[in-house]
């Protein structure tokens, strides 16, 4: 079926979800051991959005992301070791340790990049899409952003401009019910944010964000549309943030029942159930084991990597002619 991933693609998506899950758990562990600096924004339980939404893109399509971007990074093909090294502030990270856990970028993968200003990744994708349109390219730009970000002014301005200029943008709204500690019901009077697409004259749709295939199919249709020059779409992927806002979140405001409910709808569990109908269990187990080992090795390597040393940076106008 058009816009359905092949079996190989599905297995690769499954592999990436396992990588992300393992990455999140390892980072949580490292945080507990005091080996990370600053908070880590885990996306356990939301892997299907980032992985499913990026699987049909090629490396020269652009993706812009948020503070919670690990699944988007891995979905877009970034190397786990270089991600972890960046998060740990090492010279070997994607940005030589300068960016850190929230702003990782890899130009060669078109991932530009994580963004810790809520909402900022939305106009970022629109600007890229405008460049692509001018260059008469059929590439696309995607932003993946949260339900909290959807309330920012730039979200409105961006959707309005993208729809008006029919830019090749895909707006992927990762609705995990929380903006930091505040439930989405206290951030907007409406529950289904995809309905806002109509206010800009673009298609909007809702999808089960814990089902990687559903995400893939929905997004792929919008990507095709964008490549054909027919303009942007808004896809709202419904999921849930199980892990707390970040590793510095003291919790207490999310209900245990709700978390348990969503654990039952775990995206990896759902994927496994479907894939088991198509491949031998050992295939999945092998993928899983390799992925887990891959993350373990990456983390070990990153922990052994050197820290960068400071050098002034000409383009950023460091101190000049001044004794330091």
């Amino acid at each position: 079926m058009k816009n359905s991933p092949s079996l190989d693609d599905q297995l690769e998506m499954y592999r990436k979800m396992v990588l992300v899950r393992q990455l999140e758990e390892s980072l949580g562990e490292l945080h507990k051991q005091g080996k990370t600096r600053g908070p880590i924004h885990r996306c356990d339980g939301q892997e299907a959005v980032g992985v499913g939404a990026t699987a049909m893109l090629s490396s020269d399509d652009y993706v812009t992301s948020t503070h919670r971007g690990h699944a988007h990074y891995v979905g877009k093909g970034l190397d786990i070791h270089k991600i972890v090294a960046e998060i740990l502030g090492r010279e070997t990270g994607y940005c030589k340790g300068r960016a850190g856990h929230m702003i990782v970028a890899s130009a060669e993968h078109g991932l530009l990049g994580g963004n810790a200003i809520v909402g900022a990744c939305i106009p970022a994708a629109v600007g890229m899409a405008q460049s692509l349109k001018l260059l008469k390219s059929d590439r696309v730009a995607m932003c993946v952003f949260g339900d909290g970000s959807a309330q920012t002014g730039i979200c409105h301005e961006s959707m309005n401009i993208a729809a008006l200029w029919k830019l090749p943008v895909i707006f992927v709204l990762e609705h995990n019910e929380y903006g930091l500690t505040v439930h989405s019901d206290e951030q907007s009077a409406i529950k289904d944010l995809y309905k806002r697409a109509e206010a800009y004259g673009m298609p909007g749709k809702k999808v089960d964000g814990n089902d990687m295939l559903a995400v893939y199919e929905s997004v792929a249709t919008s990507v095709d549309r964008a490549r054909r020059g027919e303009g942007p779409s808004l896809i709202e992927a419904k999921t849930y943030r199980r892990a707390g806002f970040s590793t510095s979140d003291m919790g207490g405001y999310q209900s245990e029942e709700k978390i348990a409910l969503w654990e039952k709808k775990d995206p990896i569990t759902i994927a496994v159930k479907k894939l088991k109908k198509l491949v031998e269990p050992t295939t999945l187990r092998d993928i899983e084991e390799l992925a887990i080992q891959h993350v373990k090795d990456a983390v070990d390597q990153a922990l052994a990597d050197p820290y960068p040393t400071f050098e002034p940076h000409a383009a950023s106008n460091p101190y000049r002619g001044v004794v330091l």
Binding site: G179, Q187, N317
Partner: protein, 324 residues
């Protein structure tokens, strides 16, 4: 006197002012249910109700604009902007709205609101969550800007800010929230616009605000070992500046170091340096030494971040240069 953490002192100030005046209300992201990500508004929702302590959508621009007009129509809003890095989003409401009305509307309105935020580096929060940006608001006429360094001043200045009939931007520092010190009991108020001598000295004056006061004090201790007597002036208020205290100290020491955690170029230190030169030219035996964060983005990785931020060591070196 009671020992309190800086965050607790702020919390007491809010509690006392809310109890004293029922037109005072708080709003901002995560300030209500969670009590603020730095816990400054902890417990206040329970005490004063959700009508007076409101969690908000992520909409800094509008929240600030609302504070301005809510203040001119009978209530006293205290808005929390989670990071000083987001102050650009508040700036239209400050520069083009709050700044102008009292004068332009010929005193038909007053705007008693407080915008609280916190800035500064050293926590591994990365380029989008570590900046000071104090000069961006200090440049704006009609807006008072205060930046307490101690729990006592945090409490006294916040209470004064809430009672002030004019807009006040209240700058906290993420690395000070856990600092503990004595706070006077009772209705403790500090006058906005008055500096404080944090340490007396006779050879060189070090002018600082916020966390830099503590680094300056450390530097002074270090200098003492070399037989250099450094005076440390905690400016406490950036606007209006306490020129009298500045000139008085320079007249005594004839040497000055200014240290501000914002970027150096066009930073608050430039104003200090220029002011000292203008008002105490004949008393200066050497050029004023000026320190700020290096003029470049604040990197994440610890060795890099440490390199670009001003600290006790750099302050002591600057004082030695001033005395050379």
């Amino acid at each position: 006197m009671t020992m309190q953490r800086y965050a607790e002192a702020l919390n007491s100030a809010l509690r006392e002012e809310m109890a004293r005046d029922d037109t005072v209300w708080l709003f901002g992201e995560d300030v209500s249910t969670y009590g603020g990500v730095f816990k400054v508004s902890k417990g206040l929702r329970d005490e004063f109700g959700p009508e007076r302590v409101l969690d908000t959508p992520i909409s800094e621009q509008t929240l600030t604009a609302m504070a301005v007009t809510a203040a001119m129509t009978g209530t006293r809003p205290v808005l929390e902007i989670m990071y000083a890095d987001f102050m650009p989003l508040t700036l239209d409401a400050l520069v083009n709205q709050a700044s102008i009305y009292e004068y332009i509307w010929a005193d038909q309105v007053q705007m008693p609101f407080v915008l609280r935020t916190q800035g500064g580096g050293g926590a591994g929060a990365g380029a989008q969550h570590s900046k000071s940006l104090d000069v961006l608001v200090a440049h704006v006429p009609g807006i008072k800007v205060v930046a307490p360094a101690t729990p006592a001043d945090a409490k006294g200045l916040l209470k004064a800010a809430i009672r002030d009939p004019h807009p006040v931007v209240f700058l906290e520092h993420k690395l000070l929230y856990n600092s503990r010190d004595e706070v006077p009991d009772g209705d403790h108020l500090c006058e906005i616009g008055k500096a404080r001598t944090a340490r007396e000295g006779s050879d060189v004056s070090i002018f600082a605000t916020s966390k830099m006061v503590h680094d300056a004090l450390k530097a002074a201790t270090e200098l003492e070992a070399d037989g250099i007597s450094a005076e440390v002036i905690d400016l406490r208020t950036l606007r209006p500046l306490d020129n009298t205290a500045i000139v008085q100290s320079v007249k005594k020491t004839n040497h000055a170091v200014v240290v501000n955690e914002g970027w150096r170029f066009c930073g608050f230190g430039a104003e200090l340096s220029a002011t000292i030169m203008e008002q105490a030219f004949d008393d200066l035996d050497a050029p004023v030494e000026r320190l700020g964060t290096f003029d470049m983005p604040i990197p994440y990785s610890e060795p890099l971040e440490t390199s670009v931020l001003p600290d006790a060591e750099k302050i002591a070196a600057a004082a030695r240069r001033a005395l050379r």
